[in-house]
Symmetry: C2
């Protein structure tokens, strides 16, 4: 694709546009100006125009944006028109919470398999998906066209598991393990480091004392 | 405090320094140069020096950093030397996962109360903490010196709950609800928008097709 150059900051803002446009759409609103979008999103209208211009711009001078079209276009840019096949490694509380969260499925992120090292929960089901032993993971990924692996395991095992999965055709990791993964450049990593996020909140509270 | 000017980007990197220094400390390593830290963290040595200089710098020319001291100092900057009292609103899967995650408590983030709108789970316990009805929340926050509220509820209720809590002396929100909160300037918000994160991963996978 031609838009490799777009900064991660812009990419990071796209889901937020998608969310607000989805809400406008649900309310039956058909068009919105960058100024109106600016007011509800609390970012400047010029920021909105700049961000959307990265993708060719969608607005029409004097009309604004067609909500449904823009929603659809941003969804496509985000790859939400395609289905993603996911596995989750680590069926603890967090893993269970993610599997049970229906919104991911609505967006096309489908959990196909769950893996855990703990023999006691292997064979049990979470939302109808059987928890399998780690030994079956590599073959499962290859046979089920899995493109995203969600890691909800302690950091001690995460690096090794990521290496194994990188060799099986995984294209992206959604990493909740509290460790940085080093994988080949063609594999994407999106980290959710919950402790880091909480520490940042702590800092911001303290610095406003 | 005097360091209001420090960018959120720098603040966002501090927990990562803290994590790596903690690991070096656990390995019994006493000193580290910015070059060595650069190698293991995969950021430039000059970035490390710049980041740490925001807080007065801790290194000594020709010696590097004392691991234990730097770890302690960054912990203080992050406010981890103080205990935080937390409540969590929403005792679903995600809320349970967070309450059950011991690492937060080790860092001084103590869950004091859990609240949920669902009468069926009110009165049950999660890790020894009773789930209470929402009606008791405001008084509980005031009486127990709660400074952080974790919101793991659907977006429909989150804005209202945040407004109510903002009036009870809460100083920070750790917000997992898929909505932006608008609270007074003296209250900090740290968002964990899981869907946004997953969409960003989807974009990055697609753009590397």
């Amino acid at each position: 694709m031609e838009d490799r150059e777009i900064s991660q900051a812009v990419i990071g803002r796209l889901p937020r546009y998608f969310r607000y446009l989805g809400e406008l759409k649900d309310q039956g609103i058909e068009k919105v100006s960058s100024q109106e979008l600016s007011d509800i999103m609390r970012v400047t209208a010029s920021q909105i125009r700049q961000d959307l211009n990265n993708f060719g711009g969608f607005g029409q001078q004097g009309y604004g944006y067609n909500v449904g079209d823009l929603y659809g276009e941003i969804g496509k840019i985000l790859g939400l028109h395609k289905e993603h096949n996911l596995i989750i490694v680590g069926a603890g509380h967090l893993g269970q919470a993610l599997v049970n969260y229906m919104n991911f499925e609505r967006r096309g992120f489908i959990f196909r398999g769950i893996f855990d090292i703990d023999k006691k929960i292997q064979g049990t089901q979470i939302r109808g998906i059987t928890v399998r032993p780690m030994e079956e993971m590599a073959a499962f990924v290859r046979e089920n066209d899995i493109d995203i692996a969600v890691l909800t395991i302690p950091k001690t095992g995460a690096v090794e598991v990521a290496e194994q999965l990188a060799g099986c055709g995984i294209r992206g990791f959604w990493n909740f393990a509290h460790v940085d993964l080093h994988v080949p450049d063609n594999i994407q990593v999106e980290n959710v480091h919950l402790s880091d996020s909480l520490m940042k909140l702590s800092y911001n509270i303290l610095s406003h004392d």
